[in-house]
Symmetry: C2
Subunit: 375 residues, 2 copies
């Protein structure tokens, strides 16, 4: 039970997308941990962030390192795999096992590249629902949980499939991407597309990869994942392996060296076109969009909602979360909201923040108790 | 008197730099407006920001548009050229008339490129002091005024040449660049250097320019110049010339179109290597650096200090300014501090913000009155 199981599911039916396109031959890569109980009621789906993957716990075969949320998910952890059956799937359009722009286009026999249709958060959730219902045979989950882009998927689940889960926990996210956030994504995309090795998205045909552009995109994004205070506390104006500035363009400062490392290590594990698709999905996310801009109308009264924000998260500030709570109050939903006090910025949702972990554990265990779910 | 005068000054003596290098044949391009009074006491030096120029008022010959601070500087304006003799010079290392990396290296007869020495804020001020004292024959100015990188120069004037000015007004700046700000600059530099047309800084020899990289650098920086709220109010999620998203990578959103325009128009007027040098000068700025990190020790008791912050400026937040005021209080300096309430972010210092303009006018006119300076 301690070792998660990685698998793939090939959807037998085509998947219709928000764009109007229909995808054939979709594969979803996923991981499960823990044991599904007899009544199939103890499942928790975890949704990953922009460049995340299905390896939420255990050892990631991609990196050889612990899964991205192994501090939260595992035996005896906040999301306890001794109690719950935990599912995490690589989102549609990513590059880490599920179908995406690097997959073979059945119509041409070559990778899609930019012929891959644009994916939305709702499309990702649609594919997840197939996996959960059709393949895993789960008709009602205990909870759907996620942060950042994962939190957007959580909210989308509540809107698209409210009957399929008893609870949702959305963390460090928003119900719609703001202008500033679209702007930062656009900078990243322009950096990728400015790289001549991008080759209009057909780089794989030329044996090259737009690593420089992708690294710049990641560096920009990474700055937004940390708070100004966290950067100041961690690096300040400390110099990197030198006692004085070089009077040049070397990485004199630790923060420069750190950022360059973030860029160069990212390109090892992520695909440039998929980065375009993932950022676009997030930009397009506006849960109120189909409801005349009135978010309240989007929601159904699910049994339980939990919304968690991080005080120093400037990518998805607390105010964005309060707007969700306000909308949920408009349908008298059972919603709890907490703002976790942390200096560490957006990425704190991935870090060891005991208050956050305790909050997640209490919410899920409380929900399980309320609904009489036993492992 | 209404038409500003543009000129250049070639320093007769070499200029020693913080890096240890010595620059020969330095030219400083500058503009003056108004009339120097008989006692040569009504001069105000205005210091420009990162990519600014000497054309602070009147019509810029570079753009054909009004000078960058013509809302503040001019006849009857907050900095009234009917009363004051206003000087503004293009900083050393820029590309708009003063000596920079695009200038001819006397040692080789070809442009410097990256052989140009790294410039600091103190070096810029050193060159300005030569212009003001040596060339214009002004031994004591009424004030030195500037915002952003211009504000850094103002603070540097107070430290390097406290006897040369009666007052300083530093706006929307910091006494040292923070880790977050260095990080954003580094992203911009990496974007430029990632552009194959940069050619290790020798692009001019190849008849190309790294416009794509420079545009990405500018786009990143531009996002930091506006507040999240200003971007949301101005653009929100409004679409650009369309009624629905394209499900693709066009500039669907107004904010994307706006940013792309900011990038493409910037490359028309600014040089990529100079952008590297300007950002580096700002990164290196730490007024407390030579004083064991104790800012108070850097300052002398100038007659009058004025520090102004902008409430929604997240590039140089009010807290950065309060640290300057605190340090000045440590020498019992005559300092006034005000935080201007604005939603418009860092760039508000360049905009029509009446409260700000009134504050600048009162401070300068009050200083002139206190010191018995007549025009």
């Amino acid at each position: 039970m301690d070792t998660p199981i990685a698998a793939t599911y090939s959807l037998p039916e085509p998947l219709p997308l928000d764009s109007g396109a229909v995808l054939h031959g979709v594969t979803i890569a996923y991981q499960t941990s823990g044991t599904l109980n007899e009544s199939r009621s103890n499942a928790i789906l975890i949704c990953h962030a922009l460049t995340g993957d299905q390896y939420v716990t255990g050892t990631s075969p991609l990196t050889g390192k612990p899964g991205w949320w192994s501090g939260v998910v595992g035996a005896g952890k906040a999301i306890d795999t001794n109690k719950y059956f935990v599912i995490c799937s690589n989102v549609l359009g990513s590059c880490l096992g599920s179908t995406g722009s690097g997959s073979i286009n059945p119509a041409t026999g070559t990778p899609y590249g930019l012929d891959f249709p644009t994916i939305t958060i709702a499309d990702m959730v649609r594919a997840q629902e197939r996996l959960v219902t059709e393949h895993l045979g789960i008709t009602k989950m205990l909870a759907v949980v996620g942060g950042s882009m994962g939190g957007m998927q959580v909210l989308q689940w509540a809107v698209s499939f409210p009957e399929k889960t008893r609870a949702v926990l959305a963390l460090a996210c928003s119900y719609r991407h703001t202008a500033q956030n679209i702007a930062f994504h656009e900078v990243g995309r322009q950096a990728i597309m400015a790289d001549p090795d991008w080759r209009q998205g057909r780089y794989f045909e030329h044996g090259v990869r737009p690593t420089k552009g992708l690294a710049v995109a990641r560096m920009t994004a990474h700055v937004t994942y940390m708070s100004a205070r966290a950067l100041q506390q961690k690096f300040g104006r400390n110099l990197q392996d030198r006692s004085a500035v070089s009077y040049g363009f070397d990485a004199d400062f630790q923060v420069e060296s750190y950022l360059r490392y973030q860029g160069s290590s990212f390109v090892e594990r992520f695909d440039a076109n998929s980065y375009l698709y993932m950022t676009r999905a997030v930009d397009y996310f506006d849960l109120s969009g189909d409801y005349g801009g009135i978010l309240t109308r989007a929601f159904s009264p699910l049994p339980r909602y939990c919304i968690i924000s991080l005080s120093s998260d400037w990518l998805f500030p607390p105010a964005e979360h309060k707007a969700i709570v306000k909308a949920l109050n408009g349908i008298a939903a059972n919603v709890s909201y907490v703002e976790i006090d942390t200096d560490r910025g957006h990425d704190a949702f991935l870090m060891d923040v005991p208050q956050l972990h305790a909050m997640i554990a209490r919410y899920l265990d409380g929900s399980a108790a309320q609904f009489g779910i036993v492992s």
